[in-house]
């Protein structure tokens, strides 16, 4: 599914990824953990094509398609979704309008027919109910005046409606209380499928109690320095990142 080989990237003059390699097979959930400043958010932006994040070396492929040669919106149409740590507010654009416009832009880019308004509304209603969101919230401008928890639910709702093949969750648990964390995690878990993979980026182990990873990787100083099974998350929680930070 996702294949990263010797990825080097910089922001301005500063090199942040320094030879990162990672394989996430189809159907698996991998966690990337690491101390602050290790390059976790940079990894998510490099993969999704944010301007200003320059790849200087290496390769990133999704099912054999070179991501690095594509625009951000083309990568989205390939099925790549980033759940933002801090979702943006879009004044004046109702959430429903935004998501439907995005969905149809993706479908057009893939050469598929656009989804009709009634079909879309039906799906949006069902997804909102699953996430225990008031449907009226979807008529309001996207994320404007929403709480942190509401924004994260809106991210998961978009994820469900856009049904990407590969999802990156960047610190999805930040700003969530336990109840919201459970609802959001259930929403994410419902999207697990044999042909879909996820990269869960997190500083704390807490989220991984809810979204159980198949593999855990430690990112320190721009590289994956250790990988292991789900038990590794608990070990990191207990012992901290110090030994990896030193090893890097």
């Amino acid at each position: 599914m996702l294949s990263l080989r010797n990825l080097h990237a910089r922001v301005g003059e500063r090199e942040i990824l320094k030879g990162l390699s990672l394989e996430v097979p189809a159907g698996e959930v991998h966690a990337v953990m690491g101390p602050n400043g290790a390059g976790k958010s940079t990894l998510s932006y490099v993969l999704t094509g944010r301007p200003g994040y320059e790849v200087t070396e290496g390769a990133a492929e999704l099912d054999g398609v070179d991501l690095l040669g594509l625009e951000a919106n083309e990568r989205a149409a390939q099925g790549l979704f980033l759940s933002f740590q801090y979702p943006l507010e879009i004044p004046g654009v109702p959430a429903l309008t935004f998501i439907r416009t995005a969905l149809n832009a993706q479908r057009r880019a893939r050469g598929e027919a656009e989804m009709s308004a009634p079909d879309f509304l039906k799906r949006a209603r069902a997804c909102a109910a699953d996430l225990r969101m008031d449907f009226d919230m979807l008529k309001r401008p996207l994320n404007v005046g929403f709480s942190g928890g509401e924004k994260k639910r809106m991210e998961v709702l978009q994820m469900a409606l856009l049904s990407p093949r590969f999802m990156i969750l960047d610190e999805t648990d930040s700003g969530l209380d336990i109840d919201a964390l459970r609802i959001v995690s259930e929403g994410v878990n419902a999207l697990r499928a044999p042909d879909r993979s996820m990269l869960v980026i997190t500083h704390y182990q807490r989220l991984l109690d809810y979204i159980r990873p198949d593999r855990v990787h430690v990112l320190a100083d721009g590289r994956i320095v250790a990988s292991g099974g789900p038990e590794m998350a608990l070990e990191l929680e207990r012992e901290g990142y110090d030994k990896y930070a030193r090893a890097a």
């Binding site: 944010r50 919106n73 933002f84 979702p87 879009i90 004046g92 416009t101 832009a105 978009q158 856009l162």
Partner: protein, 344 residues
Amino acid sequence: MNLDEAIRLRDPTRLPSRRDEDWRWTDLRGLLRTLPEPSQPLPTDAIGPGPFDGLAGEVLIVANGSGPEEIRIGEGETRTLVLRHISRGDGAHTSRLRIDVGPSARLTLLESHEGGGAGLSLLGVDLQLGADSACERLVVADMDPDAVAVVELDARLAAGAGLSQTLLTTGARRQRFETRVRHPGQGAQVRLDGVYVLRERRHADLTSSVRHEGPGGRTDQLARGMVDDQARAVFQGRIIVQEGADGTDARMAHNALILSDRAEVDARPELEIYADDVACAHGATVGALDDEVLFYMRQRGLPEGEARSLLVASFLGEVIDRVGSPEAAERMRSWLQARIGAGD
């Protein structure tokens, strides 16, 4: 300085110039070394469809300056009029239309400015609003990129009258909409809104002055626009609250989006207050589209052009939300949408 005389006497020295304080950003003298010949008469039978077609039974046409000179709306009458200003060719012309709205009458004026050719025009409306009458003036202007035009409204309201105006324009080589209102207070209400969408080297100037002459009046003004390429927008809004106009409530906002390094916005909001117990506010912002928001939208699959258009349309569309006539508002929304999308 007198534009009307300049055109009639073909005397460029009478054109408004940068030395006239109110015209410093819309200099005509420096632009026109000589004045064009008077425009040829324009037959009205060959004129194509207009932007407000079908919304009113009555269509008035002012073609190269020729058309009706006076309209009267009788006491208590309700009317919707389409007024089309059509200019063709490279000549110069002026027109002045007087509209009298009787007491308790209601007028919806759907006005368009449709251009073609590098002419010079001065088009004016004198609007008299009787007691408790109401007028909504909705204007869309699509002029020739080479046109030079000044469109004026002089409005005088009686007590209890309401004037609402929404101007949409794509500018011209040099273009100015000037609105002057004499506001009696005493329950009278004024809304003066505008939107400009300017590309290439187009210029639009929204200038207004509202003079509150009596107590308890309201004025609400919202102007928004976007400038791209080397376009230039001018916003000058003046609200004067005279001595005795106590309890006036006046709000003015101008928000501009600059989409290119070479585009320019010049804004001058002015409040002059000589009365007591007055609530006045003005806000002005000039900014670019937020790169983070654009990336977020693109991450969800929107191509950059579509993301930009969506942001610009929602930003400008808030002005149309304030239009009172729903059918005209829909027409204006699509008109605007077509012009926002045009550059992408």
